[in-house]
Symmetry: C2
Subunit: 324 residues, 2 copies
């Protein structure tokens, strides 16, 4: 994994992924006590950054691999990213999704033309099922983060941040972190393009496998894989490919509560006019409600996805109103 | 009014206003039966396109005018745009707002440092009050649409559309239309940069002053100025400056119901991850729910603003769910 792989992915993504803008609001700056720049990947195709990695991986396949199709497991955002990237590349996709994934994510994945297979998140291991099913069908498994082309695709977010936040050389960059594909990709891009920026993973309280892994120096797992509203980022553990990158380039990690995430969703509604899902809101939540854990005049946060059901979004608004 | 004034405004706005992206979703394309490209001006500073015109007007003042301050009347989006542009330019601003304007718009205008004066929309004429107050204080009145620099600022939206929708020469461009500042500005920009595009104003049913004015060839007024959820665009009549431009370059106009606008807000939530207010959603509503009134393979819609209270947004989601 290095910057060349990200540069090559950026060339394949050019004109196919959306270059998301960098947003801000004087009202959010006031809450945070510093300038807050938001990279809204909820505005990416399929509503999350995952389309970047999926497009990168799909376009790196050989013609033989494309002909056999692809396979993926995902709580929903990687699923939609792979489904749309596969459709646009004329490749068949099968996606393994947890039974308790947001309805919208399952429905969208199906509507984008993928075959969806459901599993039970509490009792079944998606990686084992995934590897076995892919072997059986001959389809290429596109892992959600432990895949160099996926990490390279997510890393293009970092290339854009380096360009767009040109005058903020020393900023901390807060990234919602599940398996670490987005965080490690951004860190690799910034290592080359903005080496003074400090990338910090953000996780939900109780699902802080990355925080504990960075402290202990070895891969730690979450005791549970259910029980947070932040479904997008409650992966079991950092990946074998992503962890060494996180360890070399990122930290310290931050944690926020589900309540902080909902409140940040309400603030993003009111101040940025964007829709973020809980897992996509944790970095903004850390910037707004835990400013003492951050340093510097400017903080950059990635809002990684927006695929949230209307019921949960309404709950965030009814509890936190205008998010101030 | 001509393209040179818009080009000059674009130079003054460079780096100060946000270049909003062009969004799309295969799900919206399917509803509309054609490709739908959305220009989300809700992501502009202060949550609407109005910041463009306000910045353009503020930066065109003489030092003497700046020293005396500015005055504006507005249901809320122009108010916020002028308040922020004035603040960033070190100019004092007084804003006349209707008592029934969305709470959020009034609160934001105050928080951005402007002095807010309230009036009764049903019984008082804001233009008369505004002209009298501005005369008394010596402040320069920045009219919301009948001001060449304001129209020029809004027109920069059209310059961006022409660049971003480069391959869509024959597209119809649907624009939410109140007094016509945004619509006429875009029309002037496209006349120069994409002359085959057809600009069509969109209004709420019952507040179709522009539609009737275009048909009759003379300025028509709305019988009421209350009674629609689309507060941003229920102005009394097209302006003296904007109407001749609308007449020369735009039409035919379209109308949609409040219900269509709420449904489009829900669709934008689900498919685009953006927050639009009712008045900002009418063009998208026309594209999605009245496709037979539009021609061509691609339609471009402007989502002009996103300053909506949480209560009303929740109502849209609870009535229309995922907006499909």
């Amino acid at each position: 994994m290095n910057i060349d792989l990200i540069r090559a992915a950026a060339a394949r993504l050019e004109g196919r992924t959306r270059r998301t803008p960098l947003l801000s609001s004087p009202f959010l700056d006031e809450i945070a006590g510093r300038r807050v720049l938001i990279k809204p990947e909820c505005l990416q195709h399929t509503g999350s950054f995952k389309f970047r990695g999926a497009w990168s991986a799909l376009t790196a396949l050989t013609p033989q691999e494309r002909a056999k199709g692809v396979f993926a497991y995902s709580s929903g955002n990687h699923a939609q990213g792979v489904a749309l990237a596969a459709k646009l590349n004329g490749v068949h996709a099968t996606i393994l999704m947890p039974r308790d994934a947001p309805k919208l994510k399952v429905a969208n994945t199906r509507a984008l033309g993928a075959k969806v297979v459901l599993y039970d998140r509490a009792s079944e291991n998606r990686e084992e099922i995934g590897v076995a099913l892919a072997k059986e069908s001959g389809q290429t498994l596109i892992k959600p983060y432990d895949n160099p082309q996926v990490i390279a695709g997510q890393g293009t977010t970092g290339l854009e941040i380096a360009q767009q936040a040109d005058g903020c050389a020393n900023a901390q960059v807060l990234v919602p972190c599940g398996g670490g594909g987005l965080t490690s990709g951004i860190a690799l891009a910034l290592e080359a393009k903005a080496p003074q920026m400090q990338v910090r993973p953000v996780e939900p309280i109780g699902f802080d496998d990355v925080a504990r892994s960075l402290i202990s120096g070895t891969i730690q797992t979450n005791p549970r894989t259910t029980g947070s509203l932040c479904d997008a980022i409650i992966t079991p553990a950092p990946g074998d490919l992503t962890f060494p990158i996180l360890q070399r380039l990122c930290g310290p990690a931050l944690t926020v509560s589900d309540e902080d995430a909902l409140r940040a969703m309400a603030a993003a509604f009111t101040r940025l006019k964007i829709v973020i899902e809980p897992g996509g809101a944790v970095a903004l939540a850390a910037a707004l409600y835990h400013p003492d854990t951050i340093t510097g005049d400017t903080v950059i946060v990635v809002a990684s996805g927006g695929n949230v059901d209307a019921d949960l979004f309404t709950q965030a608004l009814s509890r936190f109103g205008d998010g101030s």
